[in-house]
C-alpha cells in the first residue's frame, strides 16, 4: 500500500484519471437522486434551449429532454456494460489463453488459429453485424457481444503472461507432487500473472467505453428511450450548428471517461511494473 501512495505522488496524471473516474461512478450511482428532470421527460415549453435556461443545466434537445439528466442516466448503462465487458472478456481470455499456453502443441495451435480468425474481423464490425442480426440491443446482449469481440486480444495477453511463468521450476515442483492441471494453472501460475492481467482489464475498460459509444453512435446500441451517449451524439448531429450543446456535452462525457480510464490504466501498469 505504501508503494501505491509513493506511485501516486509521482504520477499526478494517475490521480486526475482516478478522480474523474470516481466522479463518474458517483454520478452513475447517486446522480439521479439529485436530478430535477427525468431522462424521458419532455419539456414542451423549452425545446432546444441553451445551457442554464429554465433550469436546464446543459440545455435541452429537440424533444425538450434535459441533456444533463440524460448524460447522468446514460453513464449508468455505459459504466455497467464497460465494467462487465472488461471483466467477462478478461475471464474468458484467461481461461482460453491459459488452456492454450499451458497445454501447448496442437491445443495451442488450434486455439491460436481460431483467435487469429476472430481478430482478423475488427471488433466493431463483428459487434455491428451480430447486433444487426439480433436487432434488439439490451444491456445484457451488448455486454456479451462486446466481451466476445474482445476475448481474442485478452486471450493472447493471458497466454503470453502464462508462458513467462510456465518455465519456472515451481511449476515442475507442483507437477511432481501430482497436482492437477487446473491447480497448476489457476493456483500456482495465475497469481503470478496478475500484474499484466490487471493492466489488461483496465485497458479493456477504456476500449469498451469507446466501443459502446461507437455502437450507440452507429445506431445498434441501446434502443431509445434509454439514454445512450453515443446515440445522443448521432440524434442531434443535424442540430450541431443551432444547438451545439446537444452534441458537445455527450461527446465531452465520452471523452472525459475514456481519457480518465486510460490515465488510470497507465498508472496501474506503472505500479505493476514497479512491483515486479
Amino acid at each position: 500500500m505504501k508503494n501505491w501512495f509513493l506511485q501516486f505522488k509521482q504520477n499526478p496524471r494517475g490521480i486526475v484519471g482516478l478522480a474523474v473516474l470516481l466522479l463518474w461512478i458517483f454520478a452513475a450511482l447517486a446522480g439521479p437522486a439529485f436530478l430535477t428532470h427525468t431522462y424521458t421527460g419532455m419539456d414542451m415549453e423549452s425545446q432546444l434551449t441553451g445551457p442554464g435556461v429554465n433550469g436546464h443545466l446543459l440545455g435541452t434537445d429537440a424533444l425538450g429532454r434535459d441533456v444533463f439528466s440524460r448524460i447522468i442516466y446514460g453513464s449508468r448503462s455505459i459504466l455497467t456494460i464497460a465494467l462487465m465487458t472488461s471483466l467477462l472478456s478478461s475471464i474468458a481470455g484467461i481461461i482460453i489463453g491459459f488452456t492454450a499456453g499451458y497445454f501447448g502443441g496442437t491445443v495451442d495451435t488450434v486455439f491460436l488459429r481460431i483467435m487469429d480468425i476472430l481478430m482478423a474481423i475488427p471488433p466493431l464490425v463483428l459487434s455491428m453485424v451480430v447486433l444487426g442480426i439480433l436487432g434488439n440491443s439490451t444491456i445484457f446482449g451488448l455486454t456479451i457481444i462486446v466481451s466476445l469481440a474482445y476475448t481474442p486480444a485478452t486471450a493472447r495477453v493471458a497466454r503470453g503472461a502464462l508462458l513467462t511463468c510456465k518455465g519456472n521450476e515451481y511449476v515442475d515442483a507442483a507437477r511432481i507432487r501430482g497436482e492437477s492441471h487446473l491447480y497448476i494453472m489457476f493456483i500456482e501460475i495465475l497469481p503470478n500473472t496478475i500484474g499484466p492481467v490487471i493492466v489488461e482489464i483496465t485497458a479493456r475498460f477504456a476500449y469498451s467505453i469507446m466501443m459502446i459509444a461507437s455502437l450507440g453512435f452507429l445506431g445498434v446500441g441501446l434502443q431509445p428511450p434509454t439514454p445512450d451517449w453515443g446515440m445522443m451524439v448521432i440524434e442531434n448531429k443535424s442540430l450541431i450548428l443551432e444547438a451545439p450543446w446537444t452534441v458537445l456535452y455527450p461527446s465531452l462525457a465520452i471523452a472525459s471517461l475514456v481519457i480518465a480510464v486510460s490515465l488510470f490504466s497507465d498508472f496501474i501498469s506503472k505500479v505493476m511494473i514497479h512491483e515486479n
Binding site: E169, Y170, A173, I176, G178, N192
Partner: protein
C-alpha cells in the same frame, strides 16, 4: 615489489546515493599491481569486487561517486574526464567480462569485431588488422583461426567466445587486463584451458592482470598475490600460498573453510559456515565489516581497525583468525544411523536399466540419455558429474518423473516407474523428491513459506488440519535453521541461502526415500553453499534417504558422495566408490575432469591435461567411444570404431574404455597426480 606499480589504488571509495540513504559499495581500498604481476580478487557476491573496477574505468552509474586516488603508470585517473578516459579504456586497461555471449555483437562476424579493435586503437588498415587478429587467435590456441574469423558468435562454443573476448582485449596491447569472472559461466574443462592460456599469455605479452572471482581455486591458478574483499573492503592482501596456509583475517579463514576441497569429506568433517548474511553497508558504519558475523570478535573490533602490514608485503586488517582467547568451533561430522531392521532384499532403492531419452525427430535426434544402467542402495549418495550437456539433469528429471523416458526402465523399490508424473501413484510421488538449482524460480513467489512447505503435506500425506501442518512445518523450519517467523514470509523477502533451505524443507516435508538434487548449490555463494551442503548431509544421515546429487563441481561431489558416476554425452563413462573414482580414475575423461578442478589449496600441483574442444554433436550416432575425439590417451582406430567394453576395476568400480585395466593407475603414479 621494487619496480613502479602499473596500477596503484589509494583509499579508493565508492558511494551510491539512493532515494533514502547512501550505500558504501567500496571503502578505503588500497592495492597495487606490479608489472607482469597477476593480482587475484576474491569475494562473495556483494563484496564490491566488480564495482571496484568499474570505478577504475569510470564506468559507474550516475548515482555513484568516487573518492581516493587511482594512479595508473604515474598518472592520476581520478581527475580525468570521460573524454580523456577513452584513451585508457581498452588500449591501456582492457576488460574481459563474465558473459562472452553478451560481450560480442551477434550480428557481426568475429573477424570484423576483432579487426575493429586494431583499426580503432592502432590505426591499422583492415588487412593489417586481420593479420593481427589471426596472430592473436593462434596465440590463444584456436586451431583454425582463419576459419573462425568468418563465423558469427553464435556459431562457436562459449569457451571459444570467451577466448575471442580475451583476444579482443589482447589486440589492444594493454598494460593491464582486468578479468571479471571470465570462466564462471563455462565448464570446468574449458575453464582450465582458459586459465592456462591466460597465465601463459601474461608472460608473453608482459601484461599485468587483475583477476576477479568468487572461487579461490580459480584465482589460485592465475594469481601471484591475492586480495580478499568483504563488504567493499579489502580485508587481507598478500601472497596466495601464505594467505591459504595462514590466513590472518577471520573472514579469510572462515571463507577457505567453507569451500569443499581436497581431503575434506562428509565422513570426517562438516564444512564451516558463516552465520548471518552480507548486508548493505551504510555510510555511518565504522570498524570491521565482518564484526557481526565473526566468531573471534572482541571489544576492539569497532575502533581499532585498519589495514596493517603484518609481514613484508602481507597486509591484513585483523590478525585474530587463530586467536586463542575464543574457543574454536567444532566441525566434527555428525554420526549417521543406519535404518534398523534392514531387509537385504530391499536394499536397492533405485534401479535404472538401459535408460534412453531422445528428443526431436528422426534425422535430428538428440540423444540426451543413451543407455544408462545403474543401481542405488538405500542410505547412499550417488554423485553425478559431467560437463554441461552430458545428460545428468535429464537423468535426474527422468527419475523424478518430470519427463518420460524414450525407452528403458526406472525401477523404484521394485516398482516400474518409467512413466511421467501424470501416471505415477501418490505413493511413488511421495517417495521421490527433487531439489532445483535456482530457489528463486522453484519457490512460487505468490505463496507464503507456510503454504509452500505445507502443500506437499496436504496433497501427498493427507494432513488436512492446518494446525497439525503448522506444527510440522515449524519443526522442519527448525531443522533447516529457520525460525517460526518465516511462516508468513514470501520467497522475495528471503536471501538465496534461506530460499534454498526452504526448498530443502519442502522436499523433506514428506520424508522421501530418494532425493534428486539438481545442482542445488551452484547458484549460491561459498559460505551459503557450505551451509546448504551441511544441511543436506545432516538430513541424509538422519533420514537414511538416498540422494542422486547432480553437480558440475567435483569438489562438491567429492565432499558428499558415497559413489560417483561420471557421464559423457548421455552415457556413463565411469562409476565407482568415491575414493576409487577420485583416487584412481579408470577413464581418461575422469582423469581430465579431475585435473581440471581448481584446487582451493594452491600448494597442490596437479598434472594438467588440456581437454580441447567440446563434446560431439549429440544428434550424430557415434559408433565408437564418444570421448575418442578429445581423448588424450586414444589408442587408435579401435576407439572410433568399436564401443568401449565395460572394464571392471574392482567389484564396485567400472569404466567404459579400451585401455587395458590398470594402465591409468600406473601412469598416474608416474605423473604424480
Amino acid at each position: 615489489m621494487k619496480t613502479e606499480p602499473v596500477l596503484e589504488l589509494k583509499n579508493l571509495g565508492v558511494v551510491y546515493k539512493t532515494l533514502t540513504d547512501s550505500v558504501v559499495a567500496v571503502k578505503d581500498v588500497s592495492l597495487s599491481v606490479g608489472i607482469n604481476e597477476a593480482l587475484g580478487i576474491i569475494g562473495e557476491s556483494g563484496s564490491g569486487k566488480s564495482t571496484l573496477f568499474y570505478a577504475i574505468m569510470n564506468y559507474l552509474s550516475g548515482n555513484g561517486s568516487r573518492s581516493g586516488e587511482i594512479i595508473f603508470k604515474g598518472e592520476d585517473l581520478m581527475g580525468k574526464s570521460a573524454q580523456e578516459m577513452t584513451a585508457y579504456r581498452g588500449s591501456k586497461i582492457a576488460m574481459v567480462y563474465q558473459n562472452p555471449y553478451s560481450s560480442l555483437n551477434p550480428s557481426l562476424t568475429i573477424g570484423f569485431q576483432l579487426e575493429e579493435v586494431s583499426m580503432f586503437h592502432h590505426g591499422m588498415t583492415r588487412p593489417q588488422a586481420r593479420k593481427a587478429a589471426i596472430e592473436v587467435l593462434t596465440d590463444l590456441y584456436l586451431g583454425d583461426a582463419a576459419g573462425i574469423i568468418k563465423r558469427y558468435p553464435h556459431q562457436i562454443s562459449g569457451g571459444m567466445q570467451q577466448r575471442i573476448c580475451i583476444a579482443m582485449a589482447l589486440l589492444c596491447r594493454p598494460d593491464l587486463m582486468i578479468l571479471d569472472e571470465p570462466t564462471t559461466a563455462l565448464d570446468v574443462t574449458t575453464e582450465a584451458v582458459i586459465l592456462d592460456i591466460i597465465a601463459e599469455l601474461k608472460n608473453k605479452y608482459n601484461m599485468s592482470l587483475i583477476y576477479i572471482s568468487h572461487d579461490i581455486g580459480v584465482v589460485n591458478k592465475v594469481s601471484d598475490r591475492i586480495a580478499v574483499m568483504y563488504r567493499g573492503e579489502v580485508v587481507e592482501f598478500g601472497d596466495q600460498k601464505i594467505i591459504y596456509k595462514t590466513p590472518k583475517h577471520p573472514y579469510t579463514r572462515a571463507l577457505i573453510n567453507c569451500m569443499p576441497r581436497a581431503g575434506v569429506v562428509k565422513e570426517d568433517s562438516r564444512l564451516n559456515t558463516i552465520p548471518g548474511y552480507v548486508t548493505r553497508r551504510s555510510a555511518a558504519e565504522t570498524g570491521c565489516p565482518f564484526v557481526n558475523r565473526c566468531e573471534k570478535r572482541n571489544d576492539t573490533c569497532l575502533d581499532n581497525y585498519g589495514m596493517v602490514e603484518r609481514e613484508p608485503g602481507r597486509f591484513s586488517a585483523c590478525d585474530r583468525a587463530y586467536a586463542t582467547d575464543i574457543p574454536e568451533k567444532e566441525l566434527k561430522a555428525a554420526k549417521g544411523h543406519l535404518p534398523e531392521g534392514e531387509d537385504p532384499e530391499h536394499k536397492t532403492v533405485l534401479k535404472i536399466q538401459n535408460l534412453k531419452k531422445h528428443y526431436g525427430h528422426t534425422g535430428r535426434r538428440v540423444r540426451a540419455l543413451d543407455g544408462v544402467d545403474l543401481s542405488l542402495d538405500r542410505n547412499n549418495v550417488l554423485g553425478v558429474v559431467g560437463e554441461s550437456g552430458c545428460g545428468k539433469s535429464t537423468m535426474g528429471h527422468t527419475v523424478s518423473g518430470l519427463m518420460k523416458p524414450t525407452s528403458g526402465k526406472v525401477i523404484f523399490d521394485g516398482k516400474d516407474i518409467s512413466v511421467s508424473w501424470k501416471k505415477r501413484s501418490p505413493e511413488v510421488l511421495r517417495e521421490i523428491q527433487l531439489i532445483f538449482q535456482n530457489p528463486g524460480r522453484s519457490l512460487n513467489p505468490s505463496f507464503t513459506i507456510e503454504s509452500i512447505i505445507g502443500r506437499p503435506m496436504e496433497k501427498l500425506l493427507g494432513i488436512k488440519s492446518k494446525q497439525e501442518r503448522r506444527k510440522l512445518i515449524v519443526d522442519l523450519l527448525k531443522k533447516v535453521d529457520l525460525g517460526a517467523e518465516y511462516l508468513s514470509r514470501r520467497p522475495k523477502q528471503l536471501s538465496g541461502g534461506e530460499m534454498q533451505r526452504v526448498a530443502v524443507a519442502r522436499a523433506f516435508s514428506i520424508s522421501p526415500h530418494l532425493l534428486v538434487c539438481d545442482e542445488p548449490t551452484s547458484a549460491l555463494d561459498a559460505s551459503v553453499q557450505a551451509s546448504v551442503l551441511n544441511l543436506l548431509v545432516d538430513l541424509q544421515k538422519e533420514s537414511g534417504a538416498s540422494y542422486i546429487f547432480i553437480s558440475h563441481d567435483l569438489n562438491v561431489i567429492n565432499y558428499l558422495s558415497d559413489y560417483i558416476m561420471v557421464m559423457y554425452l548421455g552415457r556413463i563413462v565411469e562409476y565407482g566408490l568415491k575414493d576409487e573414482v577420485a583416487g584412481s580414475p579408470g577413464h581418461p575423461y575422469t582423469e581430465a575432469l579431475l585435473s581440471a578442478v581448481p584446487d582451493v589449496d594452491p600448494s597442490l600441483k596437479k598434472g594438467s591435461i588440456r581437454l580441447e574442444g567440446s563434446p560431439p554433436n549429440p544428434t550424430k550416432k557415434i559408433r565408437g567411444c564418444p570421448f575418442a575425439g578429445r581423448c588424450h590417451r586414444k589408442i587408435g582406430d579401435i576407439c572410433d570404431s568399436t564401443p568401449p567394453p565395460r572394464v571392471d576395476v574392482t567389484g564396485t568400480h567400472f569404466a567404459f574404455c579400451h585401455l587395458p585395466p590398470g594402465t591409468m593407475r600406473t601412469v598416474i603414479a608416474d605423473k604424480g597426480i
